[in-house]
Symmetry: C2
Subunit: 315 residues, 2 copies
């Protein structure tokens, strides 16, 4: 079976580990959000690509969910001693090597997709990681400055990491998305897929950003698509998806997110929508909804979620 998954960071990465366990022989291509990417100190940092790569490659810090295992933060403490403007960002010493390698290869002229493939030669994730685009797309968040009363756009990472998504957001913009070409292999992978899965990633800044890349939505319209709710019982399982949903006027509920994605038959995305057992009763017009346990508490539970998702649309 050929599977395409769209992915953001922690939630998506953990789900993919379950998917790999559920269907080890499947040919899986992951289209990864790059809108969270940020350039710091001249380094291109790709949080979602790296989280997926480290998680599938066995290098992730399981507790934090992001960054490397056995990480140290020596460089960061020195950056703080320099009063570096971006020392709020958690750059680990091990993680830095990935960004340095990426910088070296980008400077040598390789596009992000080839850089990602080269990095994956070390990590061997067991599936193909495709950046959604080799072009630069950056998610910016429009916030109101409480001091001046005026709104300004800040980088998603600044909003998410530095401010803990606590500044009310009035809009979330994927800057550059309107001209970004899909990365090499992205549309082909969708075209060849038997099924497309939307993991329980952030529906706005992860999945939503991938969907803004030219041609992705149109390609999905020809394929069975199943999604897993990142919201359980009215709250995000992890992260601060509620703040993102609020910014786009969507309630924080499994039903609202399912309806936000919408039915493929009605111009939306979904054929199937998996919600948590506690959200049984959710309806999304035109979409087959099933309730199963959606907590990724361990690999077996996560694999069961992946199996349920595939079964919902492939039968």
């Amino acid at each position: 079976v050929k599977v395409v998954a769209l992915a953001g960071g922690i939630g998506g990465a953990r789900f993919l580990r379950g998917l790999r366990a559920a269907v080890p022989d499947a040919e899986v291509s992951v289209i990864v959000n790059t809108g969270d990417d940020i350039t710091l100190y001249g380094l291109r940092i790709c949080p979602d690509l790296d989280t997926v790569m480290y998680t599938l490659g066995g290098g992730i810090d399981e507790e934090r969910g992001w960054g490397r295992t056995d990480e140290t933060f020596t460089t960061r403490s020195e950056l703080q001693a320099y009063d570096a403007p971006a020392s709020w960002f958690g750059l680990g010493d091990r993680d830095l090597a990935t960004h340095l390698m990426r910088r070296q290869m980008l400077d040598a002229g390789f596009p992000l997709s080839q850089v990602t493939a080269a990095l994956c030669e070390r990590w061997r994730p067991g599936m193909r990681l495709l950046p959604m685009s080799d072009d630069r797309v950056e998610t910016h968040v429009v916030v109101d400055d409480p001091q001046t009363g005026r709104s300004r756009a800040i980088h998603f990472q600044e909003w998410w990491v530095r401010h803990g998504a606590a500044l009310p957001a009035s809009a979330i913009l994927a800057v550059g998305a309107e001209t970004a070409a899909p990365g090499p292999g992205v549309l082909d992978a969708i075209g060849a897929a038997d099924v497309v899965v939307l993991p329980p990633s952030n529906p706005v800044v992860s999945i939503g950003t991938v969907l803004q890349v030219d041609g992705v939505r149109a390609a999905l319209a020809a394929k069975p698509v199943v999604g897993l709710s990142p919201i359980i019982g009215g709250a995000p399982v992890r992260g601060m998806a509620d703040a993102c949903l609020a910014a786009v006027g969507v309630q924080t509920s499994a039903q609202a997110v399912g309806r936000h994605y919408g039915a493929r038959s009605a111009g939306g995305l979904l054929d199937g929508w998996l919600v948590d057992s506690s959200d049984a009763g959710v309806t999304v017009p035109g979409v087959e909804v099933r309730a199963v346990p959606l907590l990724m508490s361990d690999l077996a539970a996560t694999a069961a979620m992946a199996t349920a998702a595939l079964e919902l649309v492939l039968g």
Copy 2:
């Protein structure tokens, strides 16, 4: 008293610490070699500037002579795990923060001279560090490839660090020096100086490279210049200066290096030449030579060298 010193890395930096102790009220400007600079992973690494900055700022590893105290090499071990092509270069985790800050400021449009001044706000070296040029100059070494029998040019750092200067060099080239403009303040500092000191730095790749920057030699011709021999008893005090001297056809002796610099009155550089007590008897036509202990064994000994150097030409 206003002093200008030309400097390379370890030897120059240690001497400057003695100079600061000898004449704490002097206004010292250091023109630092940037020919050793190398770009790795997109980061501009300035070994001589950083060695001088860390040494004067109390951040140097005293044992190694380069890099930061209490250094760790976590990022480097990860780069090796990626089979990074330049993992032979000793990039420490603390040191990396300096290169990241420099990259950030260079990307923001500041020239190296301003970046250096900003970094020195943290390190407070007690003297003004002036990169010899804001333009890119890179020292390359022409070596014979024993496999092919053909010669090729490699970056100085590759020759020095990776190969330990063990590949015989047929030429040493400061690529870019012929068009490099002196850094802001360089010629003014020389013009205002009461005396110019050439520390016991490498006469070829450190002092020699600074001298190739347009206008520096001409400016020195108007000032009393005193040099300290980096060679004691026919061997470099530290480092592999002999390999560099061989490449330019100069013997490894205090006398040969003094004559290589030459007398200012005869179109060379020197008014005074300080050699080690063990080299008493050395003569350089037209130059006042004095023999004193030249081992920088501790701060007091180094300060005494600096005092002797200034006395030799200022009386």
